[in-house]
């Protein structure tokens, strides 16, 4: 916990010092720090995005295997692992970058919450986290006004709630393939909508400084996703569950590998 506080304090003081450097504009310092942190984590984000993309591309093949080995779970697992191996990905690999990034997000989140110190009690609590740097002590208390916002209070015009919800939905939609099974369609739609709605609701109650961080972070995520994946991904593709699986074909090279493997396996069985 002590180590964690050291990390949060460092981010907090950096945020306040940055605010002083950009003319006591805390909103701008939140945006800059969010951009800087996302740039530092860019390699991890790219890796995660690519892993997720490959995983999604393999889904049709995995479904084929599931149909094929419906009664042989052991074989299904072996074949699935083989498929991952051929695609050179670890099924849990796409989670690691996200897990590594999480502490950074949490530290940033907590720093913003602490720095805003909207009540006298919060201000006293904040004093225990501050460095004795003149740039930090002279920057306090932070000017909470930014554009139309009071950063320690929720956005009264709901603009941020809409922005956070929409950007989060777009980001999720870009990476979520439309379900091939009509039975999964409603589940996928709910999952895709749940988090944006949840965060939009949080935005209605939480300080707008935090919502600003969410919105900027989402926008950067969309930009990275766009350039790494080469477009809008599944956002522009039809999401009808009636679409045949063949319309979501993976790259030809990988598909041929799977089919080749399946063919050889079938051949082996026939020989026996």
């Amino acid at each position: 916990m002590e180590v964690w506080n050291i990390i949060v304090d460092a981010v907090l003081n950096g945020l306040i010092a940055l605010s002083a450097m950009v003319g006591n504009n805390f909103g701008l310092s939140i945006i800059i720090l969010t951009v800087v942190v996302r740039l530092i984590l860019y390699p991890l984000t790219v890796r995660q995005t690519r892993s997720t993309k490959v995983m999604q591309e393999l889904q049709p093949k995995i479904q084929e295997l599931q149909k094929k080995y419906a009664r042989n779970q052991q074989k299904l697992q072996q074949e699935t692992m083989q498929l991952y191996k051929e695609a050179k990905i670890n099924p849990l690999g796409c989670l690691w970058p996200m897990l590594i990034q999480l502490p950074v997000w949490i530290a940033l989140y907590q720093s913003i919450m602490r720095a805003l110190a909207s009540t006298p009690e919060d201000l006293i609590q904040l004093s225990q986290s501050l460095y004795s740097w003149p740039i930090v002590t002279q920057a306090l208390p932070l000017d909470e006004r930014f554009l139309w916002l009071h950063l320690s209070k929720p956005d009264p015009y709901l603009i941020l709630a809409v922005l956070v919800g929409v950007t989060m939905w777009v980001q999720q939609k870009m990476v979520t393939p439309p379900p091939t099974d009509p039975r999964q369609q409603s589940m996928t739609q709910i999952t895709t909508l749940m988090m944006p709605l949840l965060f939009a609701m949080f935005t209605l109650s939480f300080p707008s400084g935090l919502s600003l961080y969410w919105a900027v972070s989402n926008i950067i995520g969309i930009i990275i996703q766009y350039f790494v994946s080469g477009g809008w991904g599944y956002l522009k593709k039809p999401s009808s569950a009636k679409s045949p699986p063949s319309k979501k074909l993976p790259p030809a090279e990988q598909q041929s590998k799977v089919l080749k493997g399946a063919y050889q396996e079938k051949k082996g069985i026939l020989k026996k």
């Binding site: 479904q63 909207s118 006298p120 009690e121 002590t137 209070k153 988090m195």
Partner: protein, 395 residues
């Protein structure tokens, strides 16, 4: 299999995000909208009746004698006044979170210490209202602003009663002067930012500081600005104290300043390890200042040189108080120290058993403490014992 994995992944992400939100809001020092503003009203009164504001938005008149005997409340000379507000002026609220102090339905937070005149008790609230109550019955005499929903911005500092006028600073950046008898508006003075400290008045001058890093000199008669404000290197965090020809206060740059009140020149500054949040005590040629670096400093008022320092076990948020030849100081974690004024030697330590941020108040050999558990403690300095404690249970 895919669905199962997606569900697990969604569940993990949801749990982690929920954890982020919970840890961010309610973790140590997180400073979210939840338990933030609770207030820390101090005491005023005499040995027959003391007045205090609770964290549930009530003003209480307590009879120390009845409390020491454990009589039911209200007893002889006691009353309560529950302040109710339809909306919150200074605290944060939103569609999903209650306004004001947590989820308390009455929703009023009191930071300032009640002020007592011959027949009235005055209280300023964080929700931006000033109330004048009959000191004997607790009946409402007047409220400012008059309209139910109208507020003037959060009041954090104490009200000051001087020559029939109530002076106060508000989070809307204004200093107000109100007629103490009627609550009529006399004048107001606009500063550049919110005011979270108390004004100090001496020789018809109101000394008040705002978060715009300036110390203002305002006429107590008509609210006119008497001289150019003093530009400070950092925001003032403690209320100014005027003593002799100097004004003493702490700022966010961790210094305690002495400013000549006649020419507004800085006479000296004394650096601590953190903010001097509590108002300093001055007696003779010595200043006693509690600091958030967990120390109490005794400083020569003339030179700004340190005379002694005492290490407490936690930050000093509460204003200290003199008790005979001793100085009583309480740390945020609730350790009360009785120190020798001359040497800083520790005469006695008394554990309150709960966090304390409210100013101390002493009458005779009893020190009154308002804990963060909203209990009022009566501490006998001679015996070193908590002789009684009381908490008004809100209905």
């Amino acid at each position: 299999m895919k669905t199962k994995k997606s569900k697990i992944l969604a569940l993990v992400i949801s749990i982690v995000l929920f954890g982020i939100i919970i840890s961010g809001c309610y973790g140590p020092g997180a400073g979210c909208t939840g338990p933030g503003a609770r207030g820390w009203s101090g005491f005023s009164g005499d040995n027959k009746t003391i007045y205090v504001g609770t964290m549930a938005g009530e003003v209480l008149a307590l009879n120390p004698s009845a409390r020491a005997k454990g009589l039911s409340f209200p007893s002889d000379g006691e009353w309560e006044y529950v302040i109710k507000m339809p909306s919150s002026g200074g605290s944060m609220c939103g569609p999903m979170l209650a306004c004001g102090p947590g989820s308390t339905p009455v929703g009023v937070t009191i930071y300032g210490t009640p002020v007592v005149s011959s027949d009235l008790v005055y209280v300023g609230t964080y929700n931006g209202k000033v109330y004048a109550l009959n000191s004997v019955t607790g009946a409402l005499r007047w409220v400012y602003p008059r309209e139910g929903n109208e507020t003037i911005g959060a009041i954090v500092g104490d009200l000051v009663l001087h020559d029939g006028t109530i002076y106060l600073g508000s989070s809307n950046g204004k200093v107000y002067a109100l007629d103490a008898e009627t609550g009529d508006h006399k004048w107001e003075f606009l500063t550049g930012d919110r005011i979270w400290t108390s004004p100090a008045i001496s020789d018809d001058i109101v000394y008040v500081s705002s978060y715009d890093r300036k110390l203002y000199f305002v006429s107590s008669k008509d609210g006119s600005e008497l001289r150019h404000p003093l530009e400070l290197p950092a925001v003032m965090c403690s209320s100014p104290v005027v003593f002799g020809d100097s004004i003493y206060f702490g700022t966010f740059d961790r210094n305690l300043y002495a400013v000549n009140k006649n020419d507004a020149n800085i006479r000296w500054k004394f650096e601590g390890g953190n903010w001097f949040w509590s108002a300093p005590l001055v007696e003779g040629k010595t200043i006693y200042a509690g600091c958030l670096d967990s120390k109490i400093y005794a400083i020569d008022a003339e030179t700004g040189m340190q005379l002694w320092q005492f290490d407490a076990d936690d930050a000093i948020v509460s204003d200290p108080v003199f008790v005979d030849e001793l100085i009583a100081v309480v740390s945020e974690s609730g350790s009360m120290y009785l120190l020798n004024k001359s040497t800083g030697g520790q005469e006695r330590t008394i554990s309150i058993g709960y966090d304390v941020m409210a100013p101390l108040y002493a009458i005779g050999n009893i020190v009154y403490v308002h804990g963060r558990d909203d209990y009022v403690y009566g501490v006998d300095i001679d015996s070193g014992q908590i002789t009684w404690k009381f908490k008004k249970v809100s209905k």
